[in-house]
């Protein structure tokens, strides 16, 4: 018997789908039967081809949308484009993000604002508008990709960690606000994950992170995509307001 596709007939939005975890999410969700609205910052042929190829392979719709998450009016126009598709939106994954590591004195306020714009304000605005669409159907699942940096307090991560912590507060609060309309809101805190984002990580830090994991390896994008899929699917229909660490136990390790 063919395996059941976990997201069959659902439509989900994924931000930052050009690279890394976002790209893997689109792949995993499509394989599992979802129609995906695949957001990226700017239009390009490679991303269009990626969407078209997946759509054909998995017999789903993959609709690319393009807007810069630093720009509120671009975000709103993007949402208008999504609304114009007249699709019932079942899920939103606020995945796109930027990282930044610098000590307090080396963090400019402009840099801090940009991090907050992309990592917190954009997910906030998207949740505001997309949850209104979910409200009409009295169902939905929002998944926020935070970070293990939101839970620890390592040097150099005051800006990035704060933006990701803000996302966790938003997650819990929205879960409480939207729950009675059957909209669930959860967050994932990935540990170090093999994507472009960690390209600049120093070798010794990478090694320490790997060693600190109970599993002695870093995460791969599919570890995060699979967890997001579970949270979007009806398998998790009684899970809301939760923060799920997908970090090989690193945050537990640091408590010892």
């Amino acid at each position: 018997m063919a395996e059941k596709r976990l997201l069959e007939n659902k439509t989900v939005i994924v931000t930052g789908s050009k690279r890394g975890m976002g790209r893997q999410m689109v792949t995993t969700f499509a394989e599992n039967g979802a129609n995906v609205i695949a957001h990226a910052r700017v239009q390009d042929d490679e991303h269009m081809d990626f969407c078209n190829t997946l759509a054909e392979k998995d017999h789903v719709k993959i609709i690319p949308v393009y807007f810069d998450l630093r720009n509120e009016s671009e975000i709103k126009n993007g949402i208008k484009t999504i609304r114009a598709k007249k699709m019932v939106i079942d899920g939103l994954v606020n995945n796109a993000g930027i990282s930044y590591t610098a000590l307090l004195q080396m963090t400019s306020i402009d840099q801090l604002r940009e991090i907050m714009d992309v990592n917190f304000f954009a997910p906030y605005i998207l949740s505001q508008y997309i949850s209104k669409m979910m409200l009409r159907n009295k169902k939905g699942s929002i998944v926020n990709i935070s970070s293990s940096a939101a839970l620890d307090g390592n040097p150099g991560l005051s800006a990035y960690g704060a933006s990701k912590s803000a996302l966790l507060c938003m997650t819990r609060s929205l879960a409480a606000e939207l729950g009675e309309n059957n909209i669930r809101v959860n967050a994932i805190c990935p540990g170090v994950t093999a994507t472009d984002m960690i390209n600049d990580m120093k070798d010794d830090i990478f090694r320490i992170q790997k060693e600190a994991s109970f599993l002695k390896k870093v995460a791969t994008p599919d570890d995060i995509a699979n967890t997001a899929m579970m949270l979007l699917s009806d398998m998790s229909k009684y899970i809301t307001g939760q923060v799920i660490s997908v970090d090989g136990g690193i945050t537990q390790f640091s408590k010892r």
Partner: protein
């Protein structure tokens, strides 16, 4: 159905009230127009008029009459 009828229907169905209760109705003036009811009203209006309300307008929608003004001025809905 005229836009005014559609507007009234959105209020009546969301808050489970009769049309004669609409005039002068304000946010939090009845138990069903609480913050949750407000979000449901906005979702209903967006659906009914096929618009996407700006968050500033969602915040400003403080009464039955104010809603008409917002829809007229910001979304070109004729009443």
């Amino acid at each position: 159905m005229t836009n005014l009828e559609l507007y009234k229907k959105s209020f009546c169905e969301t808050f489970e009230i009769q049309e004669d209760a609409l005039k002068g109705l304000v946010y939090q003036g009845i138990p069903s127009w609480d913050s949750v009811g407000h979000m449901n009203l906005v979702a209903t209006l967006e659906e009914a008029f096929d618009i996407m309300m700006d968050t500033d307008d969602v915040i400003d929608l403080s009464s039955y009459e104010k809603g008409i003004e917002i829809l007229k001025d910001h979304y070109d809905i004729g009443f």
